[in-house]
């Protein structure tokens, strides 16, 4: 496919928005744990991980609004789009559930993001490459953190194992969406800008399978796969999340700290 320069800029913006929305929505989920985590150190850890994701989101949304020519700021994009305009994957918007579910989701998402950013470092788009080079080092810590907890809970007591498995079972139908591509992504992959999600499936799955088996858990067997986030189709949970996240900015437009 051949694109005009303006089509290409629009596409790069749309791609950056997907990556940014993933990070933004999960950052909000991490923030919800503050003061509710099982121990103080975990409060701090989840807040720090959320902060890393928020930083990534800010850079990606800022870039999306610049490159697509609309001139929208990071705040315009975060606070003044409605649910159907968000293009995050559904995995990141699922409610936190218990701590085991949160760790199951972090394991999957960080494993995926690690492989993604690791390759995006070589993007022909300089900004995406720079954001990825910075983020991949942070995500390595997120993946490591989730790995330790999944091993500890999975290979722990009968109760912790059962809850860890339940967490994995709940999120698993949302995993396949991470590896889907559409026309937009295919076009950008051809231009050396985006990473082909199909390329991420094997390394991510290998990592997850190793951890899950070491944790004496079972890779869930599912026949139902949910999808649609990249087209603005979301689960019921996203609307509630946005209502909370956007409330202040919409009630007091333009309010600075």
């Amino acid at each position: 496919m051949t694109w005009s320069d303006s089509d290409k800029s629009t596409a790069v913006g749309a791609y950056a928005l997907r990556l940014g929305d993933d990070a933004l929505v999960l950052a909000h989920r991490m923030a919800e744990w503050i003061a509710s985590a099982p121990e103080l150190e975990e409060d701090v850890a989840l807040a720090n991980i959320g902060l890393d994701l928020l930083g990534q989101a800010r850079m990606l949304l800022t870039y999306a609004g610049e490159v697509d020519g609309t001139g929208r700021s990071e705040d315009d994009l975060a606070y003044f789009r409605d649910e159907r305009e968000f293009v995050n994957c559904q995995l990141v918007e699922l409610p936190n559930g218990d701590f085991a579910l949160t760790m199951a989701r972090m394991l999957v998402f960080a494993a995926y993001q690690y492989e993604l950013y690791d390759r995006l470092c070589s993007s022909s788009d300089e900004t995406l490459a720079a954001v990825a080079a910075k983020a991949v080092k942070e995500v390595a810590y997120h993946r490591d953190h989730a790995t330790r907890w999944v091993l500890r809970l999975g290979d722990g007591t009968a109760k912790s194992q059962q809850r860890m498995q339940a967490g994995l079972d709940t999120i698993w139908p949302y995993v396949a969406e991470l590896f889907e591509a559409d026309e937009l992504v295919h076009g950008l992959v051809g231009g050396g800008i985006a990473v082909d999600p199909a390329e991420l499936r094997d390394p991510t799955t290998d990592y997850l399978t190793t951890v899950i088996e070491q944790a004496t858990l079972t890779v869930p067997d599912t026949s139902v796969w949910h999808t649609g986030g990249r087209r603005g189709i979301h689960t019921e949970a996203l609307g509630y999340l946005l209502a909370e996240m956007q409330h202040l900015a919409r009630t007091h437009p333009g309010a600075p700290w």
Partner: protein, 163 residues
Amino acid sequence: MSAVTVEAVRAIVAAVPDPELPVLTIDDLGVLREVRVDDDGHVEVDITPTYSGCPAMDAIRADVERRLGDVGMADVVVRLVLAPAWSTDEISESGRRKLLHFGIAPPTGRAAVGGPVALTLAVRCPQCGSSDTRELSRFGSTACKALWACNACQEPFDAVKVL
């Protein structure tokens, strides 16, 4: 007014302390990248964040502008640059000594470029110097630090994570 030199601007900006680790300057940390001055006296200062979400960047930007403003330089632009990504390898030797003196263990070893964080090297207690220490949490009081404790003197301490 005499011509503004890069060296003069750099000397002023290099002394700006990091808001979260005030014992270090942004130069010690490697957060200060490049300083440029053009013929018209227009100043550009490049800074880079330690972590993507580093909340100190806005404060650093304001401090840089204020310090240069204090000596009459108002035509200043502070740019945030991402590439190359910051690494703990950029913390200077004097920065490492200051950290230790302040009770924070400096990063141990060099960042493994492109590699995960599988290896944990021994971290020496900044209080008593013992290497009999343990990691309490990989995430500490700020994004760039982990929480450790010393088995010898029983004191908890912060350690800068290798990144």
